[in-house]
């Protein structure tokens, strides 16, 4: 079986969610199929500047073809177009212009995807909101398997994504919440889909005492791993934690790992470790009382799964449906929706080690049942077998014509998404509607 994986960026040192997701999938599916990655020369997801050389290379044994990005992103133009399509009634042409403005625009890559659809069995495309996935899915519709990695953001409410979500061969969802949202917004229940997510590379052994000695973690701590950004809820986390530290006499630190975009408050209980190696990360994680995940929008939090994989309970932001749903389905963590709840949940975890242990164990069992690599690989392979058994059907709706594309009838993306039902999906297990 030949597979082409299309993703906006690809490298061993790129730690972004969907990019890492794509790399893990490519590397694990390589054991079962001939995998080739098609990507751009970009490294920075904000500018899409060509930093890697175009051409063919190998990353962890996987052949990778890179194509140049035609133009870098203009932040002001992108912000203006985002404001138009998210907040105002607009036309599909505006949405397509927004997609071009977001990028990465790489005509060479799209041409290659079109060719790959002829010589590959399936083309796996990552991240619906990017130009590469949108136009790549249209170019290889008959063999396109989409991994949308979408969250509850206004972009998902744009009209132009409907035909793509209804026209691909199959969709690999990250969570039941993502699936429910997409199916509600774009009515694609007829498209074969499965909630699969992604595993992680969990070390066999972790040594928290080594990390404690290396980083001077001599007090109990809760851990945040990820980009330290307002969009990830870190400002709110700092606020809640400093209030908690002021009110509580419990010795507890908040340890941060990741790239800071937001200034980190100077507080004696907030420790920033910087960007650490994977082994260090897991060692620190293993010694944490809990992992804190304050993000409002997640498609699937990999670090949440990593914490569960080593039996650490989590404390997640309950305003993110996916995180709350994961906690409910796994019984592996608690979730909060405001500062008082944050403090109460944190105290509950810290005061009841037996409960915390059980939550961690539940999380580990949940990870093993749903996110161990054999499970993930099997789910992908089952889907490929199922698709291969049927005849490829071209269902992709064409883009609207010149006049239709300029009719200002599309609702604001934010309003569309806001109107969609909220809340976690409580049923566990995978659902396949096909």
């Amino acid at each position: 079986m030949k597979l082409a994986v299309v993703v906006q960026r690809y490298a061993a040192d790129i730690g972004g969610g969907s990019e890492l997701h794509a790399r893990y999938i490519a590397e694990h599916l390589a054991a079962h199929a001939e995998v080739r990655v098609l990507t751009t020369c970009a490294r920075d997801y904000v500018t899409w500047k060509n930093e890697y050389p175009a051409g063919e290379t190998t990353v962890h044994g996987i052949p990778v073809e890179r194509f140049a990005v035609a133009r870098e992103r203009d932040p002001r133009d992108f912000a203006r177009r985002s404001s138009l399509v998210f907040d105002e009634t607009h036309a599909v042409a505006d949405e397509l212009a927004w997609l071009d403005s977001q990028g990465p625009v790489s005509p060479g890559l799209i041409d290659r995807v079109r060719r790959a659809s002829a010589d590959s069995d399936f083309v796996i495309l990552f991240s619906l909101r990017y130009h590469t996935a949108f136009h790549g899915a249209r170019a290889a519709a008959a063999k396109a398997v989409l991994v949308p990695t979408t969250e509850r953001d206004p972009a998902l409410g744009l009209e132009m994504f409907g035909p793509v979500l209804r026209g691909v061969r199959a969709i690999m969802y990250n969570s039941p919440e993502e699936r429910a949202l997409i199916e509600t917004l774009h009515g694609n229940r007829g498209v074969p889909g499965v909630t699969v997510g992604v595993g992680s590379q969990i070390p066999e052994e972790t040594d928290p005492s080594r990390a404690a000695a290396a980083f001077g973690l001599d007090r109990p701590y809760v851990l945040y791993v990820g980009r330290i950004d307002v969009n990830k809820g870190c400002a709110e986390l700092f606020d809640y934690f400093t209030q908690y530290a002021g009110r509580s006499d419990r010795p507890l630190d908040l340890v941060l790992i990741g790239t800071p975009v937001l200034p980190i408050p100077e507080h004696p209980s907030i420790r920033y470790l910087g960007y650490v190696s994977d082994q260090d990360k897991y060692d620190v994680l293993a010694g944490a009382e809990a992992l804190v995940m304050p993000s409002y929008f997640e498609s699937l939090s990999m670090v949440l799964l990593e914490a569960w994989a080593i039996g650490v309970p989590v404390l997640a932001n309950g305003r993110c449906d996916v995180l709350a749903g994961q906690c409910l389905r796994s019984n592996g963590g608690l979730f909060y929706t405001n500062g008082r709840e944050f403090e109460a949940m944190l105290d509950t975890l810290l005061d009841n080690p037996a409960l915390a242990d059980e939550l961690g164990e539940n999380g580990r069992a949940f990870y093993e049942a749903h996110y161990e690599w054999p499970v993930i690989e099997r789910t992908y392979l089952d889907m490929f077998e199922r698709l291969a058994a049927g005849e490829p059907v071209e269902r992709m709706e064409p883009l609207p014509g010149w006049l239709a594309a300029r009719a200002r009838t599309a609702r604001p993306g934010a309003a569309v998404v806001d109107a969609a039902p909220r809340g976690p999906v409580r049923e566990s297990g995978k659902r396949d509607t096909a």
Partner: protein
């Protein structure tokens, strides 16, 4: 699935913090090792469980979160966000503004005024042209304009048009100034309106917030008052002696704790040997019996009150000093103690008077204190176990006819 009581069962669990200097710190070296030994000594019992048992023991995150939220809501009252308070305040503001006195749409205008900057440009006069000397001769027709100009000196022979032009120009200036002032006044008024509306809105918001806090605080005060009341009653109960103080005159019959074990016959001799030592042996017997009755009555609610309050000394003094009241042996069905004392002066036998033989014989043939105790506890179990103090001033209710352990033959003899 862990039920709510099971979850609450987690709460009192104390961690073995004495084994580790870091309170609440879990043992690191067990973490991260994947496998059965990962949790080490923290791991729960590995006894094989059925699947149902395993599920029953699982914590239910949903329930735990709901429970914690309920506790927070109970502790802090209704938790409203700032936006919700704003909405509530907006509704209150509309309720405050009486629609009969406020023009419809005024509130919307005020809202707009509060949101938009008050930038009102002075309106120009409707006909803001200048009036010059030649203005009266202006026309679009060139020939006519020439003729008027030619004949203007002739016209000026009859009147001077310049003051008219000056007056009209002055009026234009006055109109402009009035218009500017009016615009300025409107702008100032709009600013004031916006300010008033903002102040009003903030006040209403603040009042809403304060009233919510007040509701929450009043609930807390109510809760604390209940707890304080409960604590006060508890303190009062703890301060009050649970039973009457030890009575030295008690010799052979029921002690202060009638529910206690029955005495052994060997105690009798000891008891009788510790008599008060007043009067003859028969009189002493009678006193003992009377004291026994009083002592038993002391276990009644009325006498418990005596034990709790001022009458405590009276009772104990009565019994210890062996005064006359202590010898009262009126019928058990008599009324309050005061009646007893009154009656005692009439019915008390003279000191040294021989006790009826029947009573003496009863003392000899009695089944013994152990049997008495058994009979008492059998007949009056509820009284024997009663320790609640009652107010001292409360009169002792008329005792129901008590089953006296003494034979009825003793009653007539007392009379």
């Amino acid at each position: 699935m862990l039920t709510l009581p099971q979850f609450r069962g987690y709460l009192p669990i104390e961690m073995a913090t004495d084994q580790h200097p870091q309170s609440g710190r879990r043992q690191h070296f067990h973490r991260g090792r994947r496998g059965q030994e990962r949790r080490g000594d923290r791991r729960p019992s590995t006894a094989p469980q059925t699947q149902e048992q395993g599920k029953a023991d699982q914590p239910d995150v949903d329930q735990i979160v709901k429970d914690i939220k309920a506790r927070i809501a109970q502790r802090h009252g209704i938790d409203l966000s700032a936006q919700q308070i704003q909405e509530l305040a907006a509704r209150r503001l509309e309720a405050i503004l009486d629609p009969r006195t406020v023009k419809p749409g005024l509130l919307d205008q005020l809202r707009k005024a509060a949101g938009a900057p008050a930038d009102i440009a002075p309106a120009a006069p409707a006909d803001a042209y200048t009036f010059e000397d030649h203005t009266i001769y202006d026309t679009h027709n060139g020939l006519l304009r020439f003729l008027r100009k030619l004949l203007a000196p002739v016209l000026k022979l009859f009147f001077n048009p310049n003051p008219i032009a000056a007056a009209l120009n002055a009026q234009v200036r006055v109109n402009r100034e009035a218009s500017r002032r009016e615009a300025e006044r409107e702008r100032t008024q709009a600013e004031w309106n916006a300010l008033h509306y903002t102040v009003l809105q903030r006040l209403v918001t603040e009042v809403s917030r304060v009233s919510l806090e007040m509701q929450s605080l009043s609930l807390r005060v109510e809760s604390l008052a209940t707890r304080a009341d409960f604590a006060e009653r508890r303190i009062r109960g703890l301060e009050a002696p649970p039973a009457a103080p030890p009575m030295p005159a008690r010799t052979f019959d029921t002690p202060a704790t009638p529910a206690g074990p029955a005495r052994q016959p060997s105690d009798i001799g000891t008891s009788t040997g510790t008599g008060t030592g007043t009067g003859t042996s028969e009189a002493s017997e009678g006193r003992r019996r009377r004291r026994r009755r009083r002592g038993r009555r002391g276990n009644l609610p009325g006498s418990d009150a005596a034990g709790a309050g001022a009458p405590t000394t009276q009772t104990s003094g009565d019994l210890a000093d062996g005064d006359e009241e202590a010898f009262d042996d009126g019928p058990e069905s008599d009324g309050p103690e005061a009646d007893d004392s009154t009656r005692s002066s009439l019915s008390a036998p003279a000191p040294g008077a021989p006790e009826p033989a029947a009573e003496a014989s009863f003392a000899d043939t009695s089944p013994g204190p152990a049997s008495f105790a058994a009979i008492e506890s059998e007949r009056e179990p509820e009284k024997a176990l009663r320790f609640e103090p009652l107010p001292a001033a409360e009169p002792v209710p008329a005792d129901p006819p008590q089953a006296d352990p003494a034979p009825p033959t003793s009653e007539p003899s007392d009379r």
